[in-house]
Symmetry: C2
């Protein structure tokens, strides 16, 4: 699939078919995440592929009761969780290099979006899920304390492509040479 | 360009030609960033397109003297800076929804990577630059204090495609059902 088409047409999917996703495709999607750039190539992100239905259900319990992704996690055959090591990205010899401190969230955003776009390329839906009790999810997945679970996404086939959520206009989001000076003038 | 090809073949570019980049292409690249997903569609990222050579030079002065992206910023005709509003992404009614606090870094990672991938699609090089004195850059670009400048990237045409930086093996980066249990077993 064309890159620009994928970027424009990707949607957050929350209703999945139960059909199995072959491991060959899951592996290709994880490989796309592997190639994500990271701070000084520190590669702090790794991935837990959850297929066990009991574990998926325990993870669903870490989401708020109203979260619309809950059913998606139950139905989709696969859940991919992104974890990131703290204190490495954005650091030099143990000291934070910038006023942002740890850059693991930035690197995690890039890597997770590689997963999301690569999945779309294979006709698979995902949705960025960051709103859950990470301390509880950490226990469910046995994640050591030096890693943070950042996000999870169900991964699966779907019937209906959801509508696009609206976006601000480019005019509101862009400036030329300094803050406040319009880049787009028509 | 194919999405998967772009993900695998994209490289960080630090040596640019001085050739102009048409505004139509810059606009398409920014539009790809506009379509980036964000926490509850909060869309906290915006973009400053710097073409003014004096301002670019003042921004180069915020990078460490040894940063290999310095010459790239001088030579490339365009520098794109990503700024993000704090206290919105990851919050609900003013309270952080997760143990990560502000998610602006996560959303910024996604949006910046959309820029990087879309640029590659148009044959344009970029490099994620996060290592600079953000407080100084904030002043150069007149950025209000409720926004953080997160990253910048030169944008331009280039002659030689740099070599790939190595990546860890997928086996080291992936687990099945819980931390520590291998997903890839061959």
């Amino acid at each position: 699939m064309e890159l620009i088409k994928a970027i424009y047409e990707r949607r957050s999917v929350r209703r999945f078919k139960k059909d199995n996703v072959p491991d060959e495709i899951i592996t290709e999607i994880l490989d796309a995440a592997r190639w994500a750039p990271s701070w000084a190539n520190t590669q702090v992100c790794s991935y837990i592929v959850v297929k066990d239905q009991t574990i998926k259900e325990r993870l669903v319990d870490t989401l708020p009761p109203t979260n619309p992704a809950r059913n998606g996690i139950i139905d989709a055959p696969v859940l991919i969780c992104l974890i990131a090591k703290r204190g490495v990205s954005g650091y030099y010899k143990g000291t934070a290099s910038t006023n942002k401190g740890d850059w693991f969230m930035f690197d995690a955003g890039i890597a997770m979006e590689h997963i999301v776009l690569a999945a779309w390329n294979f006709g698979l839906g995902t949705v960025h899920v960051g709103m859950f009790d990470a301390d509880k999810a950490q226990i469910v997945l046995n994640i050591p304390s030096e890693f943070n679970i950042v996000e999870m996404t169900p991964l699966g086939y779907f019937d209906d492509v959801p509508k696009a959520t609206p976006r601000k206009q480019l005019k509101e989001l862009t400036f030329l040479d300094e803050f406040g000076k319009p880049y787009i003038t028509q």
